[in-house]
Subunit: 97 residues, 2 copies
């Protein structure tokens, strides 16, 4: 209510999608496909699973590219296993742009 108080949520939201590399077995997807077929969905040919982390970042760095670079670092250090995973980074909310 007072002057200077900010109600704007400036958090940037970034989606990191982690998927298995081509050729890596996906038993969860395989079993989901089997279950769907057994439930009567005979036209399901394949099911692949992916995981998404929606990361809310305080944009202390103005530059979207820099934030993306930081998220890439997060993938390397924690979120993805480079032996079996590919990842994709996508900005879904940015109040500055």
């Amino acid at each position: 209510m007072t002057q200077g108080r900010r109600f704007v949520d400036e958090t940037m939201e970034i989606d990191v999608t982690i998927k298995l590399k081509h050729g890596v077995a996906d038993p969860e997807g395989e079993n989901t496909k089997k279950a769907l077929n057994l439930l009567g969905f005979k036209n399901v040919r394949s099911v692949k699973t992916m995981k998404t982390f929606r990361i809310g970042v305080e944009p202390e760095k103005e530059n979207e590219e820099k934030v993306k670079q930081e998220v890439k670092e997060m993938c390397r250090k924690l979120l993805a296993n480079p032996v079996i995973h590919d990842y994709a980074i996508k900005v879904v909310k940015n109040h500055k742009s």
Copy 2:
């Protein structure tokens, strides 16, 4: 090589994204946030997890709407728990359109 042989892959691909409803605890996301903060990514404010199933469907029904309806049925019967999950359905590949 012979006449009439088809090389076109007509499989439709549909992404089903399952996320937790607003207010439902996401311990995996919480712990990922903590781990990122501890790794030095201090500006991470929140992490939410989602799961995506990429479903390959043989499009015996011509209509994209009908396939979407069928995938909705899959969510109701197997993929999502209506008590805690919201889901979104998105066609990512359709050779007929």
